[in-house]
C-alpha cells in the first residue's frame, strides 16, 4: 500500500487565510519526494517537481517548499511525463470514448485519435470533441473521407489530395494519416494513404488484414510500401502484421529488416491485438513495440482493460524495464507524431503534463485478446494526473485537505 497521506502545514495555513497566504507564491504546485523518470532529460532519481502557470519550472532535489500554493507529497510514487497514447478512439463510431473521461484516470494527457474523422467530417469532430476536451488531442486523419463513421472499404472515398489538404489546413491538430479496417483485396488503400502522407509530409499509421486472399503480405508492406517513420499498429496481433513464424516461433527476418529501415511498430493493444503467445515470444527475442498505445474503446476498456497503465504493466511483466516502458509511452510516441520535446518530457518550460504512478506488488491478472489471463506480480496504477498544471485526477485524494481539517472553510474547490 502507498505511503501515508500528508498535506503540508503550508497548505493548511494558506487555506486558513493566515499571513502565509499573503506571501506571494513562487509555485502553484510542488510534487515532493517522488521518483522522477524523465528519460528525455536522463533523470531517474528522487526529485521534486515545481509547476507555475501551467509549466514545469524546476525539477530538482529538495526544492524549498516555503512558497508553494499546493504541496503534494508523492514519496514512494513515480513521477513521469503525462503519458502519450498514439492510438485512441474518440469519434466516429459507437465504440468511441470521450478523451478526458478515459485518459485522465489513466495518467494519459496526450491522445491521438486514430482515424475517427476523415477530411469530410473533420470540422464536426472539432466541434463535438476537440473543443470540449481538456486532454491534448491530436489526430491521425482517416484516409477515408467519412472516417470510421463511413465505409472503410470504400476505395472511391480515399482521396489523397483532399486528405493532405485537410492536414495542411490544420497542422497543429492533425499529425498523420490512418488507414485501417480495409477488408478488400490489393494495395490501393495502403498506396492512397501513403500518398496522402507523402503530400502532407506526415507519417501514416496502418492496420490491414493480412490473408492470402487479400493479396497483401507483411513482407511487401513493411519492406516496400511503408516509409521510414510510418507506423504499423496492432503489433502483437497476428492478423494485421505477421511477426512470428508460426512453426518456429521466430521473429520473421523481414520484421528486423523493417525496423532497421525505420518502420515503427505500435502496440495498439485494443480488444483484439495482444496475444500472450505472440507478445511473449517477440519479447523473448528482443522485439519490443516502439510505442505503447491502447486502442482503447468501449469494448477493450471492459475486456482487456487496455488503458495505458495496464498495457504498460503487461510490458513490465514481459521483462521490459520500468525506465524503458516510460520511454516508450512518452518519448517515442511524441517523436513518432513529431511533437517531441513539446510533449513527452518534464523539461523545464514545458507544459506541466504529469502522471504520478504507483507500482503495486501482489498477484494480478492480465488479459489478452482471446480472454486468456496471465498472472503477474506487479501492476502500475495511475494515482494523480496533472494537465497543464491543473490536477485533473487524484485517485486517493492525496492533493486535497480533509473535510474536517481545522481552518478548512468548505470552499476548497477551485
Amino acid at each position: 500500500m502507498h505511503g501515508t497521506i500528508r498535506i503540508s502545514l503550508a497548505v493548511l495555513l494558506a487555506l486558513a487565510g493566515t499571513p502565509a497566504a499573503a506571501q506571494e507564491s513562487v509555485y502553484d504546485l510542488l510534487l515532493t519526494g517522488g521518483h522522477v523518470i524523465d528519460p528525455a532529460n536522463d533523470i531517474d532519481a528522487v526529485r521534486d517537481v515545481a509547476v507555475r502557470d501551467g509549466k514545469i519550472v524546476q525539477v530538482a532535489a529538495a526544492i524549498p517548499t516555503g512558497s508553494a500554493k499546493r504541496i503534494v507529497d508523492v514519496k514512494g510514487l513515480y513521477v513521469v511525463p503525462g503519458l502519450v497514447d498514439i492510438h485512441a478512439h474518440h469519434y466516429g463510431y459507437a465504440g468511441s470514448l470521450f478523451p478526458d473521461e478515459t485518459a485522465f484516470p489513466a495518467g494519459t494527457t496526450t491522445v491521438v485519435d486514430a482515424g475517427g474523422p476523415g477530411w469530410r467530417n473533420f470540422e464536426d469532430y472539432q466541434e463535438k470533441i476537440l473543443r470540449r476536451a481538456r486532454a491534448r488531442v491530436f489526430t491521425f486523419i482517416n484516409s477515408v473521407g467519412l472516417g470510421m463513421g463511413g465505409e472503410e472499404d470504400d476505395i472511391e472515398d480515399m482521396n489523397p489530395r483532399a486528405t493532405a489538404d485537410k492536414i495542411l489546413a490544420f497542422p497543429d491538430l492533425i499529425v498523420g494519416v490512418k488507414n485501417a479496417h480495409f477488408g478488400g483485396s490489393g494495395w490501393t488503400s495502403v498506396d492512397r494513404a501513403i500518398e496522402a502522407g507523402r503530400l502532407s509530409n506526415t507519417p501514416v499509421i496502418l492496420d490491414n488484414t493480412i490473408l492470402s486472399w487479400t493479396g497483401r503480405d507483411t513482407r511487401t508492406k513493411v519492406l516496400e510500401k511503408m516509409r521510414p517513420g510510418d507506423i504499423h499498429t496492432h503489433f502483437y496481433n497476428d492478423r494485421h502484421v505477421e511477426i512470428l513464424d508460426r512453426r518456429t516461433n521466430r521473429v520473421q527476418p523481414y520484421m528486423h529488416a523493417a525496423r532497421k529501415r525505420g518502420v515503427l511498430f505500435d502496440l495498439g493493444h485494443g480488444g483484439g491485438s495482444f496475444l500472450w503467445p505472440v507478445a511473449d515470444r517477440a519479447m523473448a527475442q528482443d522485439f519490443p513495440p516502439d510505442t505503447i498505445s491502447t486502442d482503447l474503446h468501449a469494448g477493450s476498456i471492459l475486456s482487456t482493460e487496455s488503458d495505458m497503465p495496464n498495457s504498460i504493466s503487461k510490458m513490465l511483466l514481459l521483462g521490459m524495464p520500468l525506465r524503458d516502458v516510460v520511454y516508450r509511452s512518452t518519448v517515442t510516441p511524441a517523436r513518432t507524431i513529431k511533437r517531441f520535446p513539446q510533449v513527452g518530457t518534464l523539461g523545464e518550460g514545458r507544459d506541466a503534463d504529469i502522471a504520478v504512478l504507483r507500482l503495486d506488488e501482489g498477484v494480478f491478472s492480465f488479459h489478452d485478446a482471446w480472454g486468456k489471463k496471465r498472472l503477474g506480480t506487479q501492476r502500475l496504477l495511475n494515482v494523480l494526473t496533472v494537465r497543464a498544471g491543473e490536477i485533473v485526477y487524484d485517485r486517493d485524494a492525496i492533493a486535497f485537505p480533509d473535510w474536517d481539517a481545522p481552518g478548512s472553510n468548505g470552499r476548497t474547490r477551485e
Partner: protein, 430 residues
Amino acid sequence: MTANRSVPVRLALALAGACALLAGSGRPLAQSEPIYDYLFRNGHVIDPAAGRNGRMDIAVAGDRIVRIGTNLPADQAKRTVDVSAYCVTPGLIDLHAYVNAQGVLRQGDARTAWRNVNPDHNALRHGVTTVVDGGSTGWRNFESFRTLVVDHSRVRVLAFLNIVGSGMLEGQEQADPADLGVEEAVQMAGRHRQTIVGIRSPHLRGAGREGIERSLRAASSMDGVALVEYQPDAGLDYRELVLERLRPGDLVTETFGPATPVFDGNGGVNETLRRARERGVLFDLGHGSQSFRFRLAVPAVRAGFLPDTISTAMDKTSLLLPRGDLMTTLSKFLNMGVSIEDLVERVTVRPARALKRPELGTLREGGVADLAVIEIQQGRFGFLDTSHERLRGDRNMRAVLTMRDGQIVWDTEGISRTDWSQAGPYSNYR
C-alpha cells in the same frame, strides 16, 4: 474448473440424454453432465430483497439463475468460479445517471450530450447492470437516445423523461415554460413503457412551481415516479416540496447537496426530512459533480439519516476529481461506517421498488442472471466530495466481476478466465 470435454464425449452424453428423454423415463441426466454454464462458489451472498446474507453457491444456465443454495455440485458446471473471497450481490442499480453520450461520440446532436457518459463501461465496471438516465432527454429527443444508447447498450438502460421537451441542452439555462409539455411527455412515456420509468423535474432556472407541478401531473398520468431536484429559487420552499407536493414514492435527489436543508439550527437532522420520509417520499443521493458534501453526509449518517437510494448522477465531470462512480460512492459511505448489507440494499431492492421494477435488484431462481462480485479491500484510501474535500478511509469497494444476462462482461481479476499456459500452443491457441 472442469476441462472442456472432447466432442465425442459430449456427443455421447447428448445422445444418452436424448435417449433418456425418448424413453420417457423422466430419469435425470448422467450425474456428470454439465447443466450449468457457471457456478459461483461459496461467495458471501447479500440479497436483501430475498433476505439472503451468507455463504452460498449460485448456478447460472443461459441467461438465467437456475439455483441458489449450498454445496451445489461443481461437476455439473462448465465453469466454476471461486468467489469465496468476495461478496456476491444482485446486479446493482444506479437510479440516477447521465448516459446519453452517443450524441457526441457518434452522431446526432452534440448539445444534448455534452456532459453525458457512456453507460456500458461506466456501469458494468462497477457492478451496475441497470442504469437509469436522470433526464438527459425530453419528449422532443428521447427517441434518438433510445435508438443510439438504450438499444445498443449491454447494461440495461431505463430513463426518467425530462419534463423539459428538449431535455438538458448545452448552453440553455432558462426554462421556456412553453417547452414543459405534460401531454407530450405522457404520450412519449406511453410509447416506451419498457424504458421510461418516470418524469424528471426541470433542471433549468425559471420553471418555478409550474415546472414541479407539471412534472408531478405527468408522472401521475403515466403511472410513474417523479425524480425531483429542489431549486431554492423555484418559488417553492423545501418544506412545501417534500411535505405537500411530492407524492409518496416520488424521489427528491441531491440529498447531500448544498441546497438541501439537511440540518436544523441545532445540528440535528431537519424534522422536515424525517416527516417527508414518514410520508413515503424517497431521498436519492445523486452524487454528481456538485451535490455531495462530506460536511452534510458525515453528520447525517452519524445521526442515522441515509439516502434511500445511492446513485451517482454521474457525468463527465463527476467521474474525474470527485470520482463519483458507484463503487467509489459506496466506498465513501462504507468509510462513514455504513454496513455493506445496508449499502447493498440501497443499490438493489430499494431502487428496484422505487422504480416499480421489483423483479430487478434481487437474485431469483428463474430470474435473469445479473449479478456483481464485489471485493472489500483493506488499506489506506482517500475520497473526495464535490467540494474537493477529503475523507480518509481504510476500506474500498471494487467490482471484480459483473454478469449481465448470463454473460460475464467484466472480470478484472480473471477469476473466470483460463490461464494462457493452458490455452494450447500458438499454432492452435484457443
